[in-house]
Amino acid sequence: MNRRSTRLVALTAATGLAVAALSGCASGSSGPEETGGDVTVTWWHNGTGEPLKSFWEEVAAEFEADHPGVTVDVEAFQNEDLQRTLIPNALQAGGDAAPDLFMVWAEGEIKAQVEAGYLKDLSGLTDVVESVGGAGTGWNVDGKQYGIPFRFGIEGIWYNSDQFEQAGITETPATFDEFGEAITKLAESGVSPIGVGAGDGWPAAHWWYQFAIKTCSGDSLKKAAETLDFSDACFVEAGENLKSWMDGFEGDLPFQANPTSTPAQSVPNSAAGLLAAQTTSMELMGTWHRGEVAKLVPGAPADNPPAPEWLSWMPVPDIEGAAGEPGAALGSGDAGGVYVDAPDETLELLEYVMSEDVQTRFAATGEIPTVAGAEAGITDPVLKQIAEGTVNASLVVTWLDTQYGPVIGQAMNDAIVNLMFGNGTPEQIPEAMNAAAATL
């Protein structure tokens, strides 16, 4: 070995040491970049669309102005990337790589993150926790609050009021029988009554969820969620009820033809696109659907498209005589959680995001807030209706796939689509769920 290469080795070794030292520092300081009092708080959310993206940036800027020395690094990511890749990888990497304030999903999802020790207990923020009331339940793990929802609402049936009128439906159906009559009337008037994006699985599965919460008692649902044992007979019954309801209609009804090739949203040929183009009359979907439909109305402007005037909303009707709690609804929301080693300023930022002032302005952008009093900001009559429906629901059950976690969720959704549009049986749904639970 000549001298030149010896020097090279020494240099490499020195660099290696320096890198090791640097990374040692980084992991030692556990996240917050506290050099000379300056702190950077990273905030990841899924509000990639407008006006939400600018709104969160505005909120971050206001917080920075009130807290000299604090920089808020706010970034929006596409929902699935954020949920499945970015956040898990960042949490796994830990230290500075992990965001400080980020989206957390309810029940099964947040539980996995809590068990891995990534989330800070937010129970200390008593005022904030109290201000959201019952909406926060889904983010409570073993009596401790790990996420605070800033948006929360129940799903319902979005419908085209013009087409309802043309079909001679004067009152919104209050029972499942009336709902069935409305479907027949719509079909007779020449439109496709209900659109469903069964290609993506979950939009179809929500129909079964609705039958499940209307067929199973509150206690059965609670027990199933706790034990992940789905042997209760009501889960089979839910499928039987759904299937016999569907079989009561002719041909493809109540849904559009070939639903298994229809995606959920985002593209013109999706179920949301069909509703927007007025080729279907109804769709069962969550609160975000208003914005989704607005975007897909043919000829809609790219910036802040207005929701079409005919777009109306009603809660899913109750099934007469069913064992489920009357007035039970399915819903969930989006929440913020805090990384375990995040700087304390993150908690202040979360408090600010959840303040009545910010939540009221959030509501004014066309969202459903969680903080009591902020609903005053809702101007849109349809959203007001959803907010009221959420408050009035006797029981709000989190989306079943979120509640049981993605593994059981996927198996359940596959089996449901198979029951609705393939050759599956009602029994196969709880069977598939139990089998998936065994792999956890």
Binding site: P88, Q92, G201, A257, T260, V417
Partner: protein
């Protein structure tokens, strides 16, 4: 060997010198090593970091029940593999990959050769035709997939979409549900893939045809061979290396098939169009079962490796002589 001898450094090493000839040879060998390291080093590093290491890590993860969060502490042995190999949904996925491989070889290959033979003759608008045939290959997978999805959809309240209406215009009254019928969907996928990748096959075959010496055709013509006979006995055998390489690319592409299926059907309807890669994303990554997903990746890796090595050993043997197998030293 002769060229490398001059590349050694011209500095003399210190210490007791061995016999001059050995020393010179040692120095030459060191120089050669340095050269190899310089040229191959970056590629080796990239290969190790982005290929070998992930493969080994996936192999390691596949023995754990791991959701991607927290430490790897739930060792489950071969449970993931047992679950995978007994899952009928995975069986369908493997079947679908082989369905595409077999159909590609049996259908796309002959069509590509025929079209290439045709295009190799003097034709009017030949340049334009070649460009048109190649256009689908240039389109991005997502764009092409979405376009097909829109063409093949059903528009309520009818069962038909734009593509069906076109078919009805030419008298086919009751076309199948292209993307919604589990028995039809893989044929539809194959149709879309053929539309997309036939252009590449044709261009490859045309390049192969350009390498067939003109004299052979002249000789065949003098011997009185007709056009078909000439193609069968001269062109096709001489196209052999091109056909074998195309078939190899086609097999590998079919084994890795993901994006087109993901965009057009997402593996549906009712899991009828899953491929191994789609299955891996759906039941591994998307449900946070990283250990199980890794097991799928390992199985996919071994199936691909086995087929690729087998193909190289038996089909590409002559074509690759000397480049991979060491060959004759000169």
């Amino acid at each position: 060997m002769t060229a490398t001898e001059t590349t050694g450094p011209a500095v003399s090493a210190a210490g007791p010198a061995p016999a001059p000839s050995t020393r010179r040879r040692n120095r030459a060998r060191a120089g050669q090593r340095r050269e190899v390291a310089l040229f191959a080093g970056p590629a080796v590093i990239v290969y190790v970091v982005f290929v070998l290491l992930p493969v080994l890590l996936a192999g390691y993860y596949s023995f754990f029940n791991w959701n991607g969060l927290g430490p790897l502490d739930r060792f489950v042995g071969i449970d993931n593999y047992v679950r995978l190999l007994t899952d009928p949904v995975f069986h369908t996925s493997v079947y679908n990959n082989f369905f595409i491989i077999v159909l590609s070889l049996l259908v796309q290959g002959p069509i590509a050769i025929l079209v290439a033979l045709l295009m190799n003759r003097r034709l009017r608008f030949r340049g334009m035709l070649r460009a048109l045939i190649f256009v689908p290959y240039v389109l991005s997978e997502v764009t092409a997939g979405l376009a097909w999805q829109i063409l093949l959809q059903s528009v309520p309240p009818t069962r038909w979409g734009p593509f069906d209406t076109m078919l009805q215009g030419i008298g086919i009254q009751d076309p199948p549900a292209w993307l919604a019928d589990p028995n039809v969907v893989m044929w539809t996928m194959f149709g879309i893939l053929t539309w997309k990748y036939l252009g590449l096959a044709i261009i490859l075959m045309l390049a192969g045809l350009a390498g067939v010496p003109e004299e052979l055709y002249e000789a065949a013509a003098l011997d009185g061979a007709g056009w078909w006979k000439t193609q069968w006995y001269i062109t096709v055998p001489l196209l052999g290396p091109t056909i074998r390489i195309w078939a190899f690319l086609s097999i590998i592409g079919s084994l890795q098939l993901f994006d087109m299926v993901w965009i057009v059907t997402g593996g549906g309807p009712l899991n009828a169009s899953n491929t191994m890669a789609v299955y891996m994303v759906k039941y591994g990554l998307n449900v946070s079962q990283i250990g199980f997903g890794s097991a799928v990746a390992v199985v996919l890796f071994f199936i691909s490796l086995f087929i690729a090595l087998g193909y190289q050993r038996f089909a590409l043997r002559r074509d690759l002589e000397g480049s991979l197998t060491g060959g004759k030293r000169t």
